[in-house]
Amino acid sequence: MRYIDEFRVPAAARELLREIDALDAHGTFMEVCGTHTMAISRAGLRPLLAPGIDLISGPGCPVCVTADADIDRAIAVARKPGVILTTFGDMMKVPGTEDSLASASASGARVRVVYSPLESLAIAAEEPGSQVVFLGVGFETTAPAVAGTMLEARRQGIDNLRVLSFHKLVPPALRALVGLDDFDVDGFILPGHVSVIIGSDAYAFLPVEFSMPCVVTGFEVTDILQAILRLLKMGASEASLEVEYARAVRPEGNPRALEVMSQVFESCDAQWRGLFTIPGSGLAIREEFAAMDAGTWEVELPEPTRSKGCRCGEILCGRIKPMDCPFFGGRCTPDNPVGPCMVSSEGTCASYYLYSESDGPDERGEGADIGR
């Protein structure tokens, strides 16, 4: 049933919904940012849109795209004697091949949750006898903060801070996605805060090389609806790159942040969980900072095992929706996640689960246990 919930959808948004309806157009659009996925679910937008308009979620959550092998490496590093591993809280429950950081921590590894990489620097200063390893996970929004922390460590002469860099870059991932044979999306709703750093120019190749309509979008319901409206009006024949979020995003991004990032990191190929290795989509620590790189440490890693049946890979390319996974809401919940898409609050499965009411109970998978 389509209805407009007055509480969640403000008047301006209702007007935009009417405009979208009036176009009588259809299209499938991918939101590439986990925060957009959350905002869409929160507003209950999907059931409100005209039937021909579908929003699917892309690989927009850095936690979800971190490869099993990288989680395994982080756990192995955390278990080394004399190491304190520091991480954002979202990473704790992500399942690796055998364990998660949470289970490693419960069995004695020293793992500390931090809000900022700068806290790792403070821990390193307090614990000169330990090697403090920060688990670097995130897109271009986060990587400059990690690079800044490494520069700060050098400036302050703190020599026991290390970094595992599993950072990922958004534009190369989009290039890989649009190049897939079965990629069937009519436009991108591009991330706001990643774009604050990299600038809208970073996506210029999408309309030019792939005739892919793109709108860089803010986080309000009205922003997202504006983006859908613009994408519908554009169509592939007039594909271009528009910036709806111009109040925060400049074409060139934040040059200072980009400079800090490139002082410390250089691009490298990276494995995306559930997808494949994407050329130039990761950030490796430059030779000059090799002494701070914990990624080169010798560790023993578990043998990769068969998949546990999680369909995150298909979710991340927009091939299926969370409800299409038989585990969704039953065996797999935020408390007991089978796959990473259910771990982070920005994961596609978690967003759908968290805001299930607004997406309509009919769409939940078999065996769903709402229980709330």
Binding site: Y115, L118, T142, G148, A257, S345, A350
Partner: protein, 82 residues
């Protein structure tokens, strides 16, 4: 995780640090990634760093969204948003 939270700059500290306020809570952040910040500016804060300046109206809108997310996440037992 790529969410940056708007906050007002309360005080500038050396070297390149600022005290900001988010929802009544004060925190110290690094200004290493932004230029020319003065007291009273709004900045987008991510992982302990100001990543850009932003205007007040934009800051307010995002704050409203975040408050609801924080409440829902707490109910669902998620960790702090980054």
């Amino acid at each position: 995780m790529c969410l940056a939270i708007p906050a007002i700059v309360i005080e500038l500290d050396e070297p390149n640090l600022a005290v900001i306020e988010i929802g009544g809570v004060r925190k110290q952040v690094s200004l290493m990634l932004v230029d020319d910040v003065v007291v009273g500016d709004y900045v987008l804060v991510h992982a302990g760093f100001a990543i850009d300046k932003v205007d007040e109206a934009e800051a307010q809108k995002t704050m409203d969204l975040l408050q609801e997310l924080a409440r829902l996440e707490q109910e669902a037992g998620f960790d702090e948003i980054h």
